[in-house]
């Protein structure tokens, strides 16, 4: 079930909306730069925690989150840097968290796998695959109970991997969300692997969307690797949810460029060939969107983003560690 994205020339038409293109590009580029920097510093051991990079998959989070309001919520995974940032999560607090600092978004108690920013609507991640799905569904229940019935009613986007769909709570959550018509958009980032295990060793068939649809949930598979396609599909789903139409599902095919956990490429390990990545690298959305913007604008953004990223790492570097006296903080409210 190896998926190849649409070649660049065959993609859906680029929208005639420079502001949108710049917004998406800024988020794509920010995430890429952040993760490149994470990968660069990782061998120096300043981040004493596992990291799961989303390099190559950023377009999914960026496309989906562009359709959300600040008051909406996202539920992310341990591979959640892109969604955290795309939803507006605090960059300084994120890097500080990875450095184990007191200024981290979880005060050094979460680590890279448990990013959270309630102010930005990032409701947290779990290192136990799948467990965030029903929790996100509970947020959607609360959103529905508080729904104003207006176009501003809150929605939840729940990001998961292909592996998470194998957990029983996924099926249970779909049924419940559909039964109660909850405003939740499930977004499956199907990168074809759970760690090193390909879909063929885990899925009886690839008819995931068809299965989800049997709950009465509109389900769409996006194969072209195009951030605009993702954005349009998410925006349509969010509009429908705000109008009370209940949950929706997106399966977005993508590819993980780096190893499952850690900063490096892993094509030398033999479980997947580098050639699988080639078509994805060829239509890298970061590069593509850069090419859609005026070069001087790209340069200006680059300087700005690079400075932001550098400042975040400096912030993390210079922030204090928690004290061992803080050990019992927050066990109980």
């Amino acid at each position: 079930m190896s998926i190849v994205p649409a070649p660049v020339e065959a993609q859906t038409p680029v929208p005639d909306d420079p502001a949108l293109i710049e917004r998406l590009y800024r988020n794509l580029r920010l995430t890429r730069l952040v993760e490149d920097e994470v990968a660069r510093v990782y061998p120096t051991d300043v981040i004493k925690s596992p990291v799961h990079l989303s390099i190559g998959q950023e377009f999914v989070s960026v496309g989906v989150c562009d359709a959300l309001e600040p008051s909406d919520h996202v539920s992310i995974t341990y591979r959640g840097h892109a969604a955290y940032l795309a939803k507006g999560g605090d960059l300084n607090a994120m890097i500080a968290e990875m450095y184990g600092k007191k200024t981290g978004c979880a005060q050094g108690r979460g680590g890279s796998m448990h990013l959270v920013d309630m102010a930005a609507g990032v409701i947290g991640a779990s290192a136990v695959v799948g467990t965030s799905i029903p929790v996100a569904t509970g947020f959607a229940l609360a959103a529905k109970r508080k729904a104003t019935g207006t176009a501003n009613s809150g929605v939840v986007a729940c990001f998961i991997g292909d592996g998470a769909t194998e957990e029983g709570c996924f099926a249970e959550s779909l049924n419940f969300a559909a039964l109660h018509r909850l405003p939740i958009l499930f977004v499956c980032e199907n990168n074809g692997y759970a760690i090193h295990e390909p879909l063929a060793k885990r899925w009886a068939t690839d008819r995931l969307c068809e299965r989800v649809a049997t709950y009465g949930i509109p389900a769409t598979r996006i194969e072209d690797g195009d951030v605009f396609t993702v954005r349009d599909a998410a925006a349509a789903a969010v509009r429908a949810m705000r109008a009370g139409h209940g949950p929706a599902f997106l399966e977005v095919m993508c590819y993980r460029w780096r190893e499952h956990v850690g900063p490096s490429e892993d094509f030398n390990q033999g479980y997947r060939p580098a050639s699988d990545m080639a078509p994805w690298a060829a239509r890298d959305e970061v590069a593509r969107l850069a090419a859609l913007l005026p070069p001087d604008r790209v340069a200006a953004l680059e300087a700005e983003i690079a400075a932001t990223v550098a400042a975040a790492f400096a912030f993390a570097e210079t922030s204090p560690f928690p004290l061992s006296e803080d050990l019992y903080d927050h066990v109980y409210a």
Binding site: P134, L141, E172, S173, D329, H330, Y332
Partner: protein, 356 residues
């Protein structure tokens, strides 16, 4: 407020639970009740009776048979600012919810650096007796006591059922609320206005000087019955109800055991790594070796609960076996004393109605 004058009405445990929830639902629109069968005509043996009619299906609703995800839904709704009460008719079903309860509910606040709260109540009932068998009778409180971030409560009477439920609903932490099916019809004096039986305070239910008996959940009743039997042979037993198991009021128990020099814990579950082990270890750490306290745990037999009546009777501790074990602590050299089974039966009439 953990004491009361007996000016409340005599109310059944089940009605006290219901009243507590109804009062809190009136007070706070964020409180809701859900779980399998909370809205049918049996209404969890009456404990949710009337709630659907008063509060409607948005706040009182059944679920699919999906305990794992429904627990996550409760957690998410709680993190989003609501105050869910998730109901299970048997505690055994919590084994389907362990991942959500322990990996998420217990940890969310600490793991997210204090940026969220999980004000969640998980109600479940221990289904002792009448052939419920291996999978409908477990008391699993000690597994939850093991886990930081959870609170655990096991009220033994109607007064505490109401006060603990209100305290649990108002608590900003996940609370595992253990009920007992045999307690549902028992009555106590229960004040009508809302009140809290706060976490962390045990109650000396009956005074004594020879042995301290700590009862968990309905074992408080069995200890009171055992106390009567012991009194007949000149043994004076103090009975303590910890009420809240997390946070556990080890001070009150240790203080009593320091006086009586004998500590028996009668648990509503297996003993290995159980609440009794925790209480014994906690007390002895507190008292030090000079305490010289004799200790004993009694609880479920170390096997799966059998439905056959003969085996079931042997599986559970009862006033007779509790009294016998306490007697052996007080008179270690004496031959084993077993109360007259007829008197043991009579002891089954004893009820504790307050004052509290």
């Amino acid at each position: 407020m953990t004491t009361s004058t007996p000016d409340g009405r005599l109310l059944r445990y089940v009605d006290a639970l219901r009243e507590a929830v109804a009062q809190e639902m009136r007070r706070d629109a964020d409180v809701f009740v859900f779980g399998l069968d909370v809205d049918d005509h049996k209404s969890i043996q009456g404990s949710t009776a009337g709630l659907l009619a008063e509060f409607g299906a948005e706040r009182v609703f059944t679920t699919p048979l999906s305990e794992d995800a429904m627990t996550g839904v409760a957690i998410g709704a709680a993190m989003a600012g609501m105050r869910p009460i998730h109901v299970h008719i048997r505690m055994d079903f919590l084994l389907l919810c362990m991942n959500q309860l322990i990996n998420i509910a217990a940890k969310a606040r600490a793991m997210y650096g204090g940026s969220v709260t999980v004000p969640l109540v998980v109600r479940s009932m221990v289904g002792k007796s009448w052939g419920q068998g291996a999978q409908h009778s477990q008391g699993l409180h000690s597994m939850f006591m093991h886990v930081p971030g959870l609170k655990v409560v096991a009220p033994s009477n109607a007064h505490d059922a109401k006060g603990c439920m209100i305290a649990a609903i108002r608590d900003d932490n996940p609370v595992i609320f253990m009920e007992h099916r045999l307690l549902y019809p028992t009555e106590a004096y229960v004040p009508e206005p809302a009140y809290e039986v706060q976490p962390g305070k045990a109650r000396v239910v009956a005074p004594g000087s020879d042995v301290t008996m700590v009862g968990i959940s309905n074992m408080v009743l069995e200890c009171l019955r055992a106390r009567e039997l012991l009194a007949e042979v000149g043994v004076s037993a103090e009975v303590i109800d910890p009420i809240w198991l997390t946070p556990l009021d080890i001070d009150t128990i240790a203080e009593s055991a320091r006086r009586t020099r004998r500590l028996l814990v009668a648990d509503n579950g297996w003993t290995a790594c159980g609440a009794g082990a925790e209480i014994v270890a906690g007390v002895l750490e507190r008292l030090g070796p000079e305490g010289g306290v004799a200790v004993k745990r009694v609880g479920f037999a170390a096997t799966a609960c059998p439905p056959s009546p003969v085996l079931e009777a042997a599986f559970y501790p009862n006033p007779g076996t509790v009294a016998s074990a306490a007697h052996a602590l007080v008179h270690p050299a004496a031959p084993v004393w077993t109360p007259d089974p007829e008197r043991t039966k009579l002891a089954h009439q004893v009820q504790f109605r307050g004052p509290f």
